[in-house]
Symmetry: C2
Subunit: 339 residues, 2 copies
DNA sequence: CTGCGCAATGACAACGCTGTCAATGCGAAC
DNA sequence: GTTCGCATTGACAGCGTTGTCATTGCGCAG
């Protein structure tokens, strides 16, 4: 099956291949008349340019890499989906590259890969988006990259994120609006910037409503089910216990629900529980979890956008960035405090 | 950053570029001496061939596509991971292509994509691996493909799978070994071949041990949490209820646990529950779920292997296939029947 | 009517590799 | 010593596109 080349199109449209190339690449200086004739031929022959030839001849590869080392498959899947969809619109394709950032030869594995592929850019998701070794390597290889939900070094490169702080604030407001005052909080992994933002948001909401945070009800967690389970068993076994628990992510919130079940507490009657992330598991329990939906796919799409359009810096030279909206998803794990 | 080309290597090794190419592609008729000299130069310069140039000049693209339309992100992630790892070893890269098989222009979207990319092969996962439109399109475009865990039409093309039937049998054996005789079964989505295999395995194990299957305890589910939840609420509310429930997948098993919790039944004390798949959520509940771990990543790796090696048919012309081992994962949701 | 300037188009090399085929080297057979 | 055959190597032409630069066409000022 010999496939259709630019020559076939050129012949059919009665122009040179270069003119076809110009039309395809939206270059200026083509008469409208000619352009239409070419497009018609393209359509009729169902011509699709050969990516390999394009990238060999030109500067772009029409390939975007996604690097990740995230334990949550749901997160990765959302990133892929969002990015793929946007890429497809622009004729790009997505190359996925799981990374093992714990490996010592991590970076030395990477650079050759970049050299082989000549991707037009890469999309970095947590936690690799905050790996300085990786960022250095990318910059050294002059590969453009956009970070999704980075923790810090925001002035280093373009990024897309959501407002964790304000989301946590809204979540806390939700609990307070339901009448809760005795609210426990389970912190996330201290190495994750989001942990701190979420805690800050929680504290801010409490302060705004003049509710005191009981520090002995603020306990450390590690973003894992197990850590949430144990933190909750500790918290809920005390003589005085909160009427609501705000876990910094869903996995821990599920741990809280499991612990409550074990202690014969009914959620949400005896205890309201909220999480953060809206992972698939959040709906795999009863009661289904009230949580914050991160716009992961949209963030990835926005990141792909920046990469494809090349708008990696603002006019004044600072890294471009996008802040996307989250969504408070109220389900069955929260309930107004009984009179 | 001009990158290193085959010319640089050839110059350094003092041979022609064609000889370098021979070494790199493991072609015969190169003196050991020469080969070593070339490899040394490759090593020293850290040369990596340009994929675009390779695929333009040669027949292979060193790209493998993964098509999927699976609602479970964890499943997809495992597939990607397994495939990527194997691909990387062989210098291949993975292109992910989520498909929307419900879209009407599904196939017409697809063919151009294949034409553009010239992938060396594609990996098909459920449910798209059983989509006849897709298979037809791939065959028409002469794109080799390997199916992971296909339902039927096994003589059509190469595939990799596990023994759902025997896995279900072992799972049932586990329950029977624990002393359970009153076992409920929640069927999976009737359109999925695995549903039937799992049910058969269950029935076979029961028969082997001379235990009668109570047909009123065999209820229909749809592989979703909700369907498991509702099936279990029905099943467990009856005057006579089973001492164990075998759900055809984890999502439904989690539904069973949730229903049990709601009915104030303690798992596993009052009821043993088992699932199938070992999804991440299986560990996000208490008690953690006894289940079957599918070798998803390994299946994907094996599929990539077949694609890369080109061993798509056996010597007698039949499609190649691989059957991989599963694993029974015993956790906390099963317990010996009391007295 | 001529000439200038810019828009529109095309010819051709280059991208980095592989496939084809010719050239060379070398040992064995005569 | 010659010749033949095969193992080894290299020269060169593509692969299908884009970049560069030359050429053509055309409207408008002089």
């Amino acid at each position: 099956m010999r496939s259709i080349t630019i020559n076939d199109v050129a012949a059919k449209a009665g122009v040179s291949i270069k003119t076809v190339s110009r039309v395809l690449n939206r270059e200026p200086n083509v008469k409208d008349d000619t352009r239409e004739r070419v497009l018609a031929a393209v359509q009729e022959l169902n011509y699709k340019p050969n990516v390999s030839a394009r990238s060999l001849a030109g500067s772009r590869s029409y390939l975007i890499g996604v690097f990740f080392d995230n334990p949550s498959p749901a997160y990765n899947a959302d990133v892929h989906l969002g990015a793929v969809l946007r890429c497809r619109e622009a004729g790009y394709h997505l190359l996925v590259e799981p990374l093992d950032s714990t490996a010592s030869d991590f970076a030395s594995q990477l650079i050759p890969m970049l050299a082989t592929l000549r991707v037009d850019g890469v999309l970095l998701t947590p936690p690799v988006c905050d790996n300085p070794v990786l960022l250095d390597a990318l910059e050294a290889a002059q590969v453009p990259y956009v970070r999704v939900a980075p923790d810090g070094q925001l002035d280093r490169a373009a990024y897309v994120r959501m407002d964790d702080r304000r989301a946590a604030q809204e979540m806390a407001n939700h609990l307070i609006d339901l009448g809760h005052r005795e609210i426990g909080f389970i912190k996330g992994h201290p190495d994750h910037g989001a942990s701190h933002l979420r805690e800050e948001g929680f504290r801010e909401a409490m302060k705004d409503h003049g509710v005191t945070v009981r520090e002995d009800w603020v306990v450390q967690g590690w973003f894992s089910f197990q850590s949430g389970f144990e933190a909750a068993k500790d918290l809920l076994a005390r003589p005085q216990r909160p009427s609501a628990v705000f876990a910094s992510n869903d996995d821990m919130a599920l741990g809280v629900i499991a612990a409550a079940n074990q202690l014969r507490l009914t959620v949400p009657d005896d205890l309201s529980v909220v999480g953060f992330d809206d992972t698939p598991s959040a709906r795999m329990v009863w009661p289904q979890l009230t949580t914050i939906r991160q716009p992961i796919a949209n963030m990835a799409a926005a990141a792909a956008d920046l990469l494809i359009s090349g708008e990696m810096t603002t006019d004044d030279g600072a890294p471009a960035s996008r802040m996307l909206d989250f969504e408070l998803v109220v389900r069955d794990s929260t309930k107004p405090l009984k009179g």
